[in-house]
Structures are given as structure tokens and as C-alpha cells.
């Protein structure tokens, strides 16, 4: 009986996960507003000739608006979560580059893979060690102070 119950609970969780996994994005008006912010800041970036894409400028302006209290985060929370949640869908078209770059299937692709694997190992190891050392030093300094 209990086994059947846990089975049922597991099935329910699985269904919930499956539904969440393909749930369509929520907060369409909010997404529209974020698109408007991006459009506006893209125009502003081009107008002022800032060496920064409109999307990054839009993010900074949006952050400033939130910090100054002009914009209530609740107005855009759902739309932001939807866009971030489905972000990988948006760069799939860019990832289809092998269609136009067949050389990626040859030696060039292997070399790129090599750069990625060796590079990532170096980056992860050094970043983690530097942060750990710095963090311990700060802890020690804080202890010495108190």
C-alpha cells in the first residue's frame, strides 16, 4: 500500500515536472515591455555611439531603474523569468552555424574542442583556487579584527 502510494507520488511529481518542462512562457505583456526596453536602449546606444550593445545598455538602465525605485520588480518578474528560462531556445539559431561552416566537422572542430576542454580545465582550476585563497584570507582578517 505504501509502495503504491509512493509510486503514485512519484508519478505525480513526474507529471508536474513534464508539464513544467514544456509550460509555455507566462507574462506576455511583461515580455512585451522587456522587448520595448531593449528596443529603446538599442536605439539609444546607436544614437549616442556607445561602444556597448543595446541589450547590455538596456540591462544597466533596467537595473538602475529598479535600484532607484522607479520600477517595481513585481511588474516584470514573471516576464523576466520566462525569458531567462527559455533563453537557450533563442540561441539555437546561432548554434546552427555548422550548416554554413562545414569545416567544423574536420580537424578545425577537433582543435576547437581541444581549446575548450584544456581552457575550461585551466579556467576552473585557477578561478576556484584564487577565490578560495582570497576568501580564506578575508576570513582570517575578519577574525583578527574581532
Amino acid at each position: 500500500m505504501t509502495a503504491a502510494l509512493t509510486d503514485l507520488a512519484q508519478i505525480k511529481v513526474k507529471i508536474a515536472l513534464a508539464v513544467n518542462g514544456i509550460a509555455p512562457p507566462k507574462g506576455w505583456p511583461q515580455i512585451g515591455l522587456l522587448i520595448a526596453i531593449w528596443w529603446g536602449s538599442d536605439w539609444l546606444a546607436r544614437l549616442t555611439g556607445l561602444p556597448m550593445p543595446g541589450s547590455a545598455l538596456g540591462m544597466i538602465l533596467f537595473l538602475l531603474a529598479l535600484l532607484s525605485g522607479w520600477v517595481n520588480p513585481a511588474w516584470l518578474r514573471q516576464g523576466s523569468a520566462s525569458l531567462l528560462n527559455h533563453m537557450l531556445l533563442f540561441f539555437i539559431p546561432a548554434m546552427m552555424a555548422p550548416l554554413g561552416h562545414r569545416e567544423l566537422f574536420g580537424l578545425v572542430g577537433l582543435k576547437i574542442l581541444g581549446v575548450i576542454v584544456v581552457g575550461t580545465t585551466i579556467i576552473m582550476t585557477t578561478t576556484a583556487l584564487i577565490v578560495e585563497l582570497y576568501y580564506r584570507q578575508r576570513l582570517k582578517a575578519a577574525e583578527a579584527k574581532s
Binding site: 526596453i37 541589450s55 523576466s80 525569458l83 546552427m96 577565490v131
Partner: protein, 233 residues
């Protein structure tokens, strides 16, 4: 059998197909939560397989899907919200976060560039690989800003995320790092989006640190792109 008649597929077909395969990949991931079932990997491979089978050119594929690509703009804008919600955490711990982002970014830029150079890759590919550790929308921006190919940057960045999650898992077994800051920075700096998901498996703190490091490193790299371009000539 010739598939030539399929070249007349309307561009909208590729938009719908990409959306459908993405939905299917999310569904599979919801059932099997393993790294190989990541929708990033599955949806990408499925779309590539379909596109190669139907022999579509990249230009034709993009004609039906570039609207998806432009949604990266508002998605980048949306990154402001997680930063805002963690403002207290950032205020308290900004020196550690800054050290992680600065050291990590510098090492990432130079290691990728030097490795690409020593492997004898052509200059435009070298430059496309420089931002491979930061999150994809920022990586594409940096790549185009320093004379690389944004699409190649997108592919290598995604592969970095997928492999990085596995590499990071292995490294943590041997590295003498215990703090949530170091473990989170490792994944956020080395494997961006996929790494952040992985860091959340270690703990809430590791996950949010990884997420912050990812976004801050992306911003720092975009801001530094003109400097990177000048240094790497």
C-alpha cells in the same frame, strides 16, 4: 531519393520545427534529468540532424528563425532582475565576487587565445573562441566586437557549458576548495548557464554565487571588449 523539392519549404517551417524540437527536448529533460539530456544538447542535435537531412542552407534556416535570435536582446535585459534581487548579497560580498570575476575573466581570455594560437587556428576562429566561457548572448556580442564570428562563438560557448559541467564535477573531487564562493565561481566562470544549474545541485548558495559570477563576468567582458580587441592584435 532526392530531397531537392524540400528546398521550397517556407521559412516559417524552420521556426515551427525549432520550437517543436525544443519543446520535445524540454519534455525529455523533465523526465530524465541527466547532463546528456540537457535540452541545450538534445534540441541542438535534433535541429542539426533535421536541417542536414532536409539539406537546408544556413541562410534559409535563419530566414525562419532569426526572430528567435533577436529575443536574446530582451532576455539579456532581463538579467537585471536576478542582480537586483541579490543586491544585498552583492553589497556584502562584492570583493570576493569581484576577485572571482576579474581573475577568472582575465585567465579565460588569455588561456583561450593562447591555446587557439598554439593549436594553429585561423585568426577569426581565435577571436571567436576568446569569450567561450561567458554566457552565450554576451559571448556573441564580445566575439563580434573583437573581430570573431558570433555564430562560432555561440557553438563553442554552448559546448563549453555542456563539457564544463562534467569537467567541473571531476575537478571538485581533487581541488582543495571548500567554500561555496570557490565552488560556485568555478561553475559560473567556467561553464556559465549549464554550470549554474550544476552549482544549484551542490547547494542554494553555490548556485546563486555561480549565477551572479556568470552575469557579472558577461557584463565585465562586454565592457572590456574594446580593450580586449586592442590587446589581442
Amino acid at each position: 531519393m532526392s530531397l531537392a523539392y524540400l528546398h521550397d519549404l517556407p521559412p516559417a517551417f524552420w521556426g515551427v520545427a525549432t520550437l517543436g524540437l525544443y519543446g520535445l527536448a524540454r519534455l525529455i529533460y523533465a523526465r530524465k534529468r541527466r547532463w546528456w539530456s540537457s535540452p541545450l544538447l538534445l534540441a541542438w542535435l535534433a535541429c542539426l540532424a533535421l536541417a542536414f537531412t532536409l539539406q537546408v542552407s544556413y541562410a534559409d534556416y535563419l530566414r525562419g528563425t532569426s526572430w528567435l535570435l533577436s529575443l536574446l536582446g530582451p532576455a539579456t535585459v532581463a538579467f537585471a532582475l536576478p542582480i537586483y534581487e541579490q543586491r544585498q548579497f552583492i553589497r556584502r560580498h562584492w570583493p570576493v565576487l569581484a576577485v572571482g570575476v576579474m581573475a577568472g575573466s582575465t585567465i579565460a581570455i588569455f588561456s583561450s587565445w593562447l591555446l587557439a594560437k598554439s593549436f594553429g587556428l585561423p585568426p577569426d576562429l581565435e577571436r571567436s573562441l576568446v569569450p567561450h566561457s561567458i554566457t552565450t548572448p554576451f559571448a556573441m556580442t564580445v566575439a563580434s566586437g573583437i573581430g570573431g564570428i558570433p555564430q562560432i562563438a555561440a557553438v563553442s560557448t554552448a559546448v563549453t557549458g555542456l563539457l564544463g559541467a562534467v569537467i567541473g564535477d571531476g575537478l571538485l573531487k581533487y581541488l582543495p576548495v571548500r567554500s561555496a564562493f570557490a565552488r560556485g565561481s568555478l561553475f559560473g566562470m567556467g561553464a556559465h548557464g549549464v554550470g549554474v544549474a550544476k552549482a544549484y545541485e551542490l547547494g542554494q548558495e553555490e548556485g546563486s554565487i555561480a549565477g551572479l559570477v556568470m552575469i557579472l563576468a558577461g557584463l565585465a567582458n562586454v565592457a572590456a571588449a574594446p580593450v580586449i580587441a586592442a590587446v589581442l592584435i
